[in-house]
């Protein structure tokens, strides 16, 4: 592993404790630069901020959809009644808790739901971010634990993002909070960088590792099935009318292509957790994520799930590159310049500079 600057670490730069008190082995392991740099090397919050904006928007949309039939999913006499939901959780998932188990009246349910949408909107915009990030986490878990039976992969990624967004300074940049801070202290408007933070690193690392766990088990679960070996799995998905949102059954004329894409999918998913870390293979893994999840979004009727997984993959885009890309787009599309004051002062961001910045990234 290399340091932020790309140079190998100087392993002796941090004194190693020499005492042999109980726990010293444990504490010495956790003092190693390799571990500490991975988790705690301060990084700029741009990647985390992008996760906040896109993840917050996904949280807002996917919860706003409940508004269309709120009582049928969250009311006392919902498909899964409140009482049954509580009992199933107590029996099958001890430890789970939901605010909605304690809501009996329609007006209170609506009040909480609207408040939740306001919280998600504030998180997306970055207004009182630290507070609303914690509220968003509590609310997201409450929805998930109440809505057994109606959940799928989207909710798992939503919960993942809500959990880790509250750990780091996701509102330090590209947010209303950062604009308000710049207005209060005009000198900060000219600062080149928002402060780097160890907690930004912790939060992004957790998203990265969680994505790796999801893909690894997604991959090895598929290896237990015959369809992923005989190359027919993709066909089974594409010809599934109840999932289908784009008819790609004409691909039946190209069985070798279907088999190849099936095998590439399972190989990519299984080895993502290894190949996404080295710079040489990271972009291949991320490009495949765009293809696989883009395909799920467009053809398999799960645009929200596909997009949510792509948002999770953004955790592997280094902060300097994320910043450069947004600034580049900000020059192309002026409406994106809302965050200029918070990221200000830079010059010369271009795709070429962005790739140079990526090569000295902190997040991976």
């Amino acid at each position: 592993m290399k340091s932020k600057s790309g140079a190998p670490h100087v392993a002796r730069s941090v004194p190693i404790r020499s005492d042999r008190s109980p726990g010293s082995v444990w504490t010495n392991v956790l003092d190693r630069p390799l571990w500490n740099d991975f988790w705690f090397a301060p990084s700029s919050p741009h990647t985390l901020a992008m996760l906040r904006i896109l993840g917050g928007a996904m949280l807002f949309y996917s919860h706003a959809v409940w508004t269309l039939d709120l009582q049928s999913f969250l009311g006392p006499n919902a498909w899964i009644s409140t009482e049954l939901s509580r009992e199933m959780n107590q029996a099958n998932a001890p430890g789970a808790w939901s605010l909605f188990w304690h809501v009996d009246s329609a007006w209170l349910l609506w009040l909480i739901h609207i408040a939740a949408l306001v919280v998600y909107a504030m998180l997306t915009a970055g207004l009182f971010t630290r507070t609303v990030a914690v509220l968003a986490w509590i609310l997201t878990l409450s929805y998930c634990h109440r809505l057994q039976g109606a959940l799928y992969g989207l909710d798992q990624v939503n919960a993942l993002l809500a959990t880790y967004l509250m750990l780091g300074p996701s509102g330090a940049v590209w947010s209303i909070d950062s604009l308000r801070a710049a207005r209060r202290d005009p000198e900060s408007r000219d600062s080149l960088q928002p402060p780097s933070s160890a907690w930004a690193t912790v939060a992004v690392r957790l998203v990265q590792i969680h994505m790796c766990v999801i893909y690894f088990f997604g991959g090895i679960s598929k290896l237990k099935g015959t369809d992923w070996w005989d190359g027919s799995a993709l066909w089974m998905a594409l010809s599934n009318y109840d999932y289908q949102s784009l008819d790609l059954t004409w691909l039946i004329r190209f069985p070798a292509l279907i088999a190849l894409l099936t095998h590439l999918t399972v190989i990519w998913e299984t080895f993502y957790c290894v190949l996404v870390w080295p710079r040489a293979t990271r972009w291949i893994m991320l490009a495949m994520a765009v293809m696989v999840h883009g395909g799920i979004a467009v053809a398999l009727g799960m645009p929200t799930f596909g997009l949510a997984m792509l948002i999770g993959n953004l955790a592997f885009v280094p902060s300097p590159l994320m910043r450069a890309a947004v600034e580049y787009l900000g020059r192309r599309w002026k409406w994106l310049r809302i965050g200029k004051s918070a990221t200000a002062g830079n010059s010369g961001s271009s795709p070429a500079n962005a790739s140079r910045l990526a090569s000295c990234s902190a997040n991976g």
Binding site: S13, V14, P15, L30, N36, W39, F40, A41, P42, Y61, V65, L68, D69, Q71, S72, F73, N77, A78, W79, I80, S81, L84, A93, P94, G95, A96, L141, C144, Q148, G149, A150, G153, L154, Q156, T163, W199, V202, L206, I209, F217, G218, I220, S221, K222, L223, K224, G225, T226, D227, W228, A233, M236, A237, S239, Y241, S245, T249, I252, G301, M302
Partner: protein, 216 residues
């Protein structure tokens, strides 16, 4: 605490130790849940090593909503999907109204369609496969529990329909939609919604058993 370590990592030594311990715990929990899930064979029990620590971490895993296997379209994509047909009885002589769930035209946007789709799959997934005649008493006891659970879910669905539509009675029939085999599609090019690919599934027994089989 070393000042240069604070400068380098932004958090003091004690803070890093505490954070590292929590991170290790969380990552272990994140890994353990799908590992535990994957060690369970069909109708079997989890592997002993996965089961050793699960009792301690289960409340945390459940609370944090980490209790997933991440087996998307695995081990195989579904060879059949499960929908349901709701029959709503009016309180006069009119014939019952039938609604199929999910319905692309009725349930919009697509996310709402998918929520209903997951509900119908959930209902079907709760229905236990029939027992063989020579099943032992433990299997019979588990089957009875699973069946009781299924009828509670079905009952909740039917109660929701009665409340939502204001009808005196509502009943649910599970519907299976099988994928059309590859060779049939290639040979005959039928529609993916060919009526022959749909069939109703019976609940056996049709209503909750009045007495439970208990283990000895």
């Amino acid at each position: 605490m070393s000042a240069d370590s604070v400068e380098r990592w932004g958090i003091g030594r004690l803070g890093r130790l505490a954070a590292s311990s929590l991170l290790l715990l969380h990552i272990f929990a994140m890994f353990l849940s799908p590992f535990h899930f994957n060690t369970i064979p069909p109708g079997g029990n989890p592997a002993p090593d996965a089961e050793i620590v699960m009792p301690w971490l289960r409340p945390y895993i459940n609370f944090m909503f980490l209790n997933h296997g991440y087996a998307f379209f695995a081990p195989n994509p579904p060879a059949a999907n499960h929908l349901m047909r709701a029959s709503l009885d009016a309180d006069d002589d009119r014939p019952p109204t039938a609604i199929t769930y999910p319905d692309r035209a009725l349930h919009r946007p697509r996310l709402m369609y998918h929520r209903h789709f997951m509900l119908t799959e959930f209902l079907h997934g709760a229905y236990p496969d029939p027992l063989p005649d020579d099943a032992d008493s433990i299997s019979r006891s588990r089957h009875a529990d699973a069946l009781a659970n299924y009828f509670r879910i079905r009952g909740s669905f039917e109660n929701h329909l009665r409340t939502a539509y204001g009808v005196p009675a509502a009943s649910i029939t599970r519907v299976e939609h099988r994928m059309i085999p590859y060779d049939v599609l290639l040979r005959e090019s039928p529609s993916l919604t060919d009526p022959r690919s749909y069939s109703d599934l019976d609940d056996v027994p049709a209503s909750p058993p009045t007495s439970r089989v208990t283990s000895p």
